[in-house]
Subunit: 412 residues, 2 copies
């Protein structure tokens, strides 16, 4: 085995999740214990922290406080949305990264993010190879959207799914309180893939969920949508609808953009979101009481409803990334393989080439969506259910979450 | 003691809460055990269920399933918003109620609701007295708004407060992930009283909450609001604002209605709520990235974040209502008295005259709000904190809530 000694950097990138810090902790704790890794550096705001040489010395954190990262939502090191052009277009950033890597003797780079972040990883690794600087680069996945290619599922997805399913069951009870009837439109994250909106079907599977679900995988038809809702509302006196934020018409236009045209010039285009727009349309069409509900940021930061399975797997992805790199692996993202052992769900890791995963999106298979395109089928439920299992033992202080407070001491 | 034998009715009215069914269970379980009470009837949709003679025989429910009511949000018997005129104006409803009471030999009436429900209770009781029909009437309070007069606090408030404080801490973490800065405006329920918006300060007290809080108790000034937000945003790069839905200008106009005027005639007046409106205004004024977040129905049905203290006290209110009535008490609402015993919070019940509590609102004392009117003071935190303590042991099925399924068999 090629024992490569040097410092490592862990960075977080893209949209946060409830359990993204569990992955960071998996990297940090494993790296701190590794003989090969001489210093563990946390990049402030992802790759921006490398470019700015803003690197925290994670070895100076109190281990017990650090352990709280597992339960703390939303990229504790700070995140960024920084898309780097290839070095053949502009190598300024790459030169700077090399400079900072050399300064701190960085030989391991772990990047915790989604599609774009895997692209960043891949480019950095290729550049380092091209200039002959030995550095192992590993991707640690996260994506509430669950849209990363090559892995059974993505860390962060299941906790968001659990938040959505639980909230949907509670909303169901509230919506059914009055005898005057009500329609609720619940807007769920997912710009291009409908995994999260589909997860609301878990609530239906347990008797208290949406009647209709619309995913971006199926072209949206407003007339059909209105007919669907009217039918359920007339039959039952209520209707709960789950919609992906990314639903779009056949020509690709997002439904959420519809009001921009209607409101052109009046400056109110951004008021409310898709849920508010659809609620307004349904109000006019049905005369019913309609409420638009946007789950908003809460679905991706609601750590109090995290799935223990997701949290442990997120940690695992970070740990295995470090162990693999120390054992000579580079240019890979940690992926998950689902195994069923004695009827029990079991998750194994695998290594996926960064080049393969970068910028490819995994969508919900059409056969997992019903023929009418307004709900999901049983295989979808069977896919999600094992992932949301287990309640972590959340640290609390006076019955409120006790989240991690890092000292964030800059490395010299 | 006057031992009055007969059936009892439990009805639920007004907006639901996360723990309103804990109170119903307190009534039902205590009544089922009482020698004086011959049958326990649950009214479908509150007083409407009495008028329609839609009364469920709660004695036919499975006791173990019934016990799940404690953890199930949102008026399981169904609620209503039905305001009755006084019998001197129109006694049709009262005659009908008497008829149904006589049919089922109802001698105890328990009504679980807010201000309006206590008014209904009071009118029914006075009418029954005027026609010489012996019936004991008791109010069981609930109000997420915490605005009932004469009680230290209201069942349902603390669970909503805990949901808000916890969610606010999580939103805080999400908002601080990027270095590009962000403003978030979080809209919280409370039309006339700001207890719930104020409760968001719990999150701030634990280091991760709103910078600014606006309650309906203080007249809103848009210029001052914009200045406040700009100041915080310029100093820190971020700003989180909590607003009561009921904030209003000096002349009484709700801020949430402002866009109606601006949009007059275009039919988009109802798109989005107060958060969306304020977010739009701040976007224009600051150029920052601004997100409007409406906690919506979730704050009043998020039973997974219920306060155990609140849940137990809600049950207690129901139990004591039955015990008091059986012991000869009538025309009272159960209220709470706060006691501190050996430094520990302790809650006692008291009886409050229905006539006193009906239609009176309790607001946040001005001295508990800071001088600038954009935050709350320590006494507010000290008031709320004991109420949110404790996590109930929530029944789950496959890591999702296991809510109560009632058979709802109509009484003959």
């Amino acid at each position: 085995m090629n024992q490569l000694r040097g410092a490592c950097i862990i960075g977080q990138s893209g949209g946060p999740t409830s359990v993204i810090n569990a992955s960071a902790l998996g990297v940090i704790e494993t790296a701190l214990k590794s003989d090969a890794i001489t210093q563990v550096l946390g990049a402030e705001h992802g790759i921006k922290g490398v470019l700015n040489d803003r690197l925290f010395d994670m070895g100076l954190e109190d281990p017990q406080e650090l352990a709280l990262l597992k339960y703390t939502p939303s990229s504790a090191l700070g995140s960024c949305r920084y898309k780097m052009a290839g070095p053949e277009v502009d190598d300024t950033d790459y030169k700077r990264i090399l400079e900072v890597f050399k300064k701190h003797d960085v030989r391991y780079f772990f990047y915790n993010g989604g599609n774009d972040s895997m692209d960043t990883c891949n480019k950095i690794s290729k550049y380092m190879q091209s200039v002959g600087y030995e550095c192992r680069v590993m991707g640690v996945p996260k994506a509430i959207d669950n849209d990363l290619w090559g892995t059974d599922h993505c860390p962060g997805f299941a906790s968001a799914a659990k938040y959505i399913a639980t909230s949907m069951m509670e909303i169901y009870h509230d919506v059914h309180v009055y005898d005057t009837g009500m329609i609720a439109v619940v807007e769920i994250m997912g710009r291009h893939a409908g995994w999260l909106a589909g997860a609301s079907a878990l609530a239906s599977a347990y008797g208290a969920g949406p009647d209709l679900i619309y995913l971006p995988e199926v072209d949206f038809d407003m007339e059909q949508f209105i007919d669907d809702v009217k039918r359920v509302y007339e039959q039952t006196g209520n209707c709960i609808v789950a919609v992906s934020e990314g639903i779009h018409y056949k020509d690709g236009r997002f439904v959420s953009e519809a009001k921009v045209a209607a409101n052109d010039g009046f400056g109110h285009a951004q008021l409310g979101g898709l849920a508010a727009l659809l609620a307004e349309i349904l109000k006019r069409e049905t005369g019913a009481k309609v409420r638009g509900i946007e789950l908003n940021l809460l679905q991706r930061c609601g750590a109090h409803l995290a799935s223990k399975t997701d949290m442990e797997e997120s940690y695992l992805a970070g740990r295995v990334a470090v162990e693999s790199a120390v054992h000579g692996i580079s240019d890979k993202m940690i992926g998950f393989v689902r195994e069923v052992v004695g009827g029990q769900y079991c998750c194994q890791t695998k290594l996926i080439s960064l080049a393969d995963v970068a910028n490819t999106e995994k969508k919900v298979p059409r056969k997992w969506i019903n023929a009418a395109g307004n709900g999901v089928e049983r295989p979808f439920i069977n896919y999600v259910l094992p992932l949301i299992q287990g309640e972590p033992d959340l640290p609390r202080q006076d019955s409120l979450p006790r989240f991690c407070h890092l000292k964030k001491i800059l490395a010299k």
